[in-house]
Structures are given as C-alpha cells and as structure tokens.
C-alpha cells in the first residue's frame, strides 16, 4: 500500500496519507512475505514532456481539464524554454494558472476538484469483503488494525449463530461499493478505535446514510481492540445477551 500511495499521489496530484497507529507501529505482527511484481512500471500520472508541449496546438493550461476526469496535465520545472511553466499559488486562479478574482473561474475550479474527488474513488484501493456463511441483513465495517480482531469476533458470533457480512474499508474517498454495502444491509456495525466514531460520521456525511442505520462499536482504552470486546458490544447493540453464560460442568 505504501508503494501504491506514492503512485496515487502522482496520478491524483495530491498528498496521500497512509494511515497507521500505535498498535501497528509499536507491536510485532506476523504477516505474509511482501512480494514485488517485477513487471511493475511506475505511473507518474499526467505529465507533459517537451515534445508533447511542442506538438500541442491548443494553449497549455495547468488547471484545464481536457478529458473530463478533473485531473489536469502538469509539467516538471525546466521542461521547455517557452511552454508549460506555471505558477502554483494559494489564491484563486483560472485554468491557465493566472491570478484572477473572477468568481466564475473560481467556481469552475472548485467543481473540477469535485470531479477529481469522484475520479479518485475509482483509483484508491477497493474495500475487501468477507461474506457471512449464511444469508444475513446485518453488516459490519472495520479498517486497519481493527481487522484481525473483527474477523475473530465474526467467527465467535457465527459459532453462536449470529451471521454478519463484513467489509474492510481500505481508502477514503469511499467508493460506490462502500455505499452499496450499507445499502444492502438493514443495520451495519462500524468498528473503530477512537472516541468519536469518526469513520461512522464520515460514512454518514459522505454517503448520505441514515445515521440510525450505522451502529457504532468503539474502543479507545489504550490497548488494541479485542475480538471479545467487539462481540460484547455487538451483542449489546443487538439487544441480546451481553454475558456469555457459564455452563456448569456436569457432575
């Protein structure tokens, strides 16, 4: 994912934040060996070189969306003596990177960024699905270091007859698949390790979801979240038993 982040940053021309946490950073974990595909070619995204600039009939515009995906062509500094240089500024500018206070030009650029945000949804890593063994109307969403504990909790719950479809979110902005997953279930548990239920709130805002449909499973006690904690909270939210009955040994 780290290598992919660099490539996404080039393709989308935006910083990419790779999320980690103390659990991942401070503890040793077992993982499958990292593999590298030798046929991999780096993709630097939309970059024009000197020949391409010379061959262009139209005027080059740093913020001109020529193919409708909201991502514009860039040039590296020093590429061409006469063409392709631009000034990256914090103030409003037009499609040709020229300073302007024209409101229409500002709105056009803001709407292009919306389009780019939509494009980004199909570029970022897709969610991973773990369907329940039996058909169910309940779902669970988790990410990052909550993944292993969540999958273990699902095994525990399945053993007790509670079946839940699972989805591991791997990126923001959320793709259509994320929206569809919530749409396809009556209620969805959202597991996360922070006080405020930030993933749940982002899902509500970004995907325009009825907040009542998303039930928050949160843990923020400082230790890594456990499968037992997730199962306990899910039982509680489903209105079922919160304590596993102790079976008295026969005899």
């Amino acid at each position: 994912m780290t290598a992919q982040s660099f490539e996404l940053a080039d393709q989308l021309q935006t910083p990419v934040i790779l999320m980690t946490d103390l659990d991942l950073g401070m503890n040793d974990n077992m993982s499958d060996p990292l593999e590298w595909d030798d046929s991999k070619v780096y993709d630097r995204g939309k970059v024009l070189n000197a020949e391409q600039l010379d061959a262009m009939k139209e005027r080059y515009g740093r913020y001109l969306d020529v193919d409708g995906d909201g991502i514009c062509y860039r040039t590296y500094p020093g590429t061409h003596p006469e063409k392709g240089a631009f000034f990256t500024r914090g103030t409003s500018r037009d499609e040709y990177a020229i300073y302007t206070e024209n409101g229409d030009a500002y709105v056009r650029n803001m709407e292009r960024l919306l389009k780019k945000f939509e494009t980004a949804k199909s570029y970022v890593p897709a969610p991973e699905f773990h369907p329940a063994r039996e058909k169910t109307r309940e779902g669970i969403i988790f990410f990052g270091t909550s993944t292993a504990a969540s999958l273990e909790a699902l095994d525990q719950l399945a053993a007790e007859g509670v079946h839940i479809d699972a989805m591991r979110v791997r990126a923001f902005p959320f793709s259509q698949q994320v929206e569809d997953f919530v749409e396809q279930h009556d209620r969805v548990f959202v597991v996360e390790q922070n006080r405020d239920g930030q993933l749940r709130k982002m899902l509500v805002i970004e995907c325009d979801i009825d907040p009542k449909k998303l039930l928050s499973v949160r843990y923020y006690g400082g230790m890594p979240i456990t499968a037992r904690e997730i199962s306990r909270q899910i039982h509680q939210l489903r209105g079922g038993a919160t304590v596993t009955p102790i079976r008295r040994k026969a005899g």
Partner: protein, 350 residues
C-alpha cells in the same frame, strides 16, 4: 497611475550571451504599493539572472506567504513558481531541489515568514546547506495584514501606528551564521549596485546562500520612528566593502575595476572580488562576521555587504550522496532492486 505595461520594446534591446533580453526575465505587473522596496529586489533578481545568462526556465522560484512571497509572480515569468504555505518555503524548496538538482532555486521569504512562523524551517534548511538562494525581504512588519510589528523589528522602533516595539529583534544573518550557512549577506533594496552583484554571487554559490535585504514598507513602516524606513536605513548603513562578481567564463576578458583587496573563487569557477574591505574585514571567518554584526548594531548601524562565505563546504546533495542525475529522471531500472532482492531480504529475516 497606469496598470497597463506597454508591449513595445526597443528593437535593439541588449541581449545576453544566450540571446535572452531583460524582458525574458520579467514577470507579471506588480500589485504591491508604489515605492515598495520589494519591487526593487524583484528588479535586482531580474537583472542578476539576465546578466548571469541563466535560461529562465531553468529557475524555480518558491515562496511562502506575505507581501514578499507575492513577488515571484513579478519576475521570471517563464519559470515554474510555487507560492507555498506560510513559513514552509524551505520544505518545498528542499523537495524540489532533491527531485532535480540541475535547476537554480530562488526562495523568497519575508521577516514574518522566516523569523516567526517559519523559524524552524529556516533553521533546518540552513544547516542542511541546501543549494539555493534564500532572500528575506525584511521590512520589520506584516504589510499584508496592515503593518503589525514583526520579529525583526528593533526595540523601540515604531510603525505607522506609533507604538514602540518592546521585544528584542531576531537577526536572521546572525542566526544563519550560527546554524552553518555557507553564504551570508545583507543589503538594502535601495542599493542596487550592492544588491545585484550579491544576488549573482549568491546564485553562483554552491550551497545555502542567505541574503537579508532590508526593504522598507512604504505604507506601514516608513515613518520617522521606524528603523526600517528609507530615511533611517540610508542614514545608518555601513558596508563590509564593495562586492563585484566575475562569472567564470568572463574572467579573462572582463573589464573589472582594479584594486580589489581579496578574491574568492566559487565552486563553479566564478570569482568574487572584494574592494575596500573595512578594517581588514575577513569574509571567510564566521566569528569575524558575528562579531562585526553585533559591533555595528551596538553603534546603531546596519552592516551590509558580503558578511561570510565558505565556497567549498559540501551541499545537501553531496552530504546525502545522491546520484548526479536528477532523481525525478530515475526509473524502475535505477530505483527498484526487484523481487529477487526482496526475497533475499525476507530470507534474512526468517
């Protein structure tokens, strides 16, 4: 006042050895106040780049936020520019420089940008000896937000509002010297004869070249109680000596003034001639520079000129041991050791 610049240029406009005229180094029309010192500095940068015959597209200009940081729009219109976040110009310059070491990097900052919000970045880019020219256009106030005192305002100096500044000023030249800058100079936006050769020498220097240029804010900090106004600065200027810059390729033929007291050869072979050095001022000695700045300050004077120069210290690329090819041109073949190397690393961990 007309805001339209005529397109007409004299048909026999002088060109430099690459065939570029001064016009090729100009930028957009300035929107700063009439008489702003910053515009004089932009003109000096244009002049220096024209005389050095640097291809305009081989310069990258980077700035932070503030009146000073607006100026890269007003020079070198054929160069890539980046108006970055407040006080964060050094980070952007470092990234750009690492990606392509073959460009000339000109960073423009202000006293607010460098001495307050960006003080940390200023310190670290200095000690890394990043190959760039770092100019601070120092007016002692925040002109863009109506003239509040900045961290370089002298104690007792008052801007237009009239309230004397109670805090000790930060001297960026002293800081740069203490943090290992290899080229430190100070100048005044109103002294083009001194500023242009200093900029030329600073651009030609391999390593971190810092120039603190006092540049009066005509709107908010040019009154009789300010120590950064035109009048005060003119009356209190002192110079280490006169600087002349001789490019490597002109050395044998150039008609330079005789009588220089010292000659410093830069890493690219060009030469700096120092004339009329004050009391045997030694620009190669860091301690001399620090002491001289303090001594002149104690006498109420502003010491300008080339304060310190060490032409041979390794720059950031040399310290890092990077390859000579610009990093941005490296591909999979250069960068990726491949799956077999990865397997060997994995095997080592088992």
């Amino acid at each position: 006042m007309s805001y339209i610049r005529p397109n007409f240029r004299h048909p026999q406009l002088t060109v430099n050895e690459l065939g570029y005229s001064r016009r090729d180094y100009e930028g957009g029309l300035s929107t700063l106040c009439a008489g702003c010192g910053h515009d004089s500095i932009s003109a000096a940068i244009i002049q220096a780049c024209f005389e050095l015959a640097i291809p305009p597209h081989k310069v990258a200009k980077i700035s932070g936020i503030g009146c000073s940081s607006k100026t890269p729009t007003y020079f070198l219109g054929k160069s890539h520019g980046f108006n970055s976040v407040h006080g964060r110009m050094p980070s952007v310059a470092t990234g750009a420089n690492l990606a392509n070491r073959d460009m000339v990097y000109i960073g423009v900052s202000g006293d607010g940008d460098s001495a307050s919000i960006g003080l940390g970045q200023f310190g670290h880019v200095t000690r890394r000896n990043l190959n760039m020219l770092y100019i601070v256009e120092n007016n002692g106030c925040y002109g863009l937000t109506k003239g509040q005192d900045s961290a370089t305002a002298d104690v007792g100096s008052a801007s237009k509002k009239g309230v004397p500044n109670p805090y000790e000023p930060i001297d960026l030249c002293t800081m740069a010297l203490e943090m290992g800058a290899t080229f430190v100079g100070r100048s005044f936006s109103g002294d083009k004869d001194q500023l242009v050769p200093l900029i030329k020498a600073a651009i030609s220097h391999r390593g971190f070249a810092f120039l603190d240029v006092i540049s009066p804010c005509v709107t908010f900090n040019n009154n009789d109680k300010s120590t950064k106004g035109y009048e005060y600065v003119r009356e209190h200027l002192a110079a280490t000596g006169t600087v002349d810059y001789v490019p490597m390729r002109q050395e044998l033929t150039a008609d330079f003034a005789p009588g220089f007291s010292k000659e410093i050869t830069l890493h690219d072979g060009s030469v700096i001639h120092l004339y009329k050095q004050k009391d045997g001022y030694e620009a190669s000695d860091r301690n001399t520079a620090l002491q001289a700045i303090q001594a002149y300050k104690a006498r109420g004077q502003i010491l300008t000129g080339l304060l310190y120069l060490e032409p041979d210290d390794p720059d950031f690329h040399e310290i890092q041991g990077t390859v000579s090819k610009p990093l941005r041109d490296l591909d999979e073949g250069d960068l990726c050791p491949g799956s077999r190397s990865l397997e060997a690393i994995n095997a080592n961990l088992r």
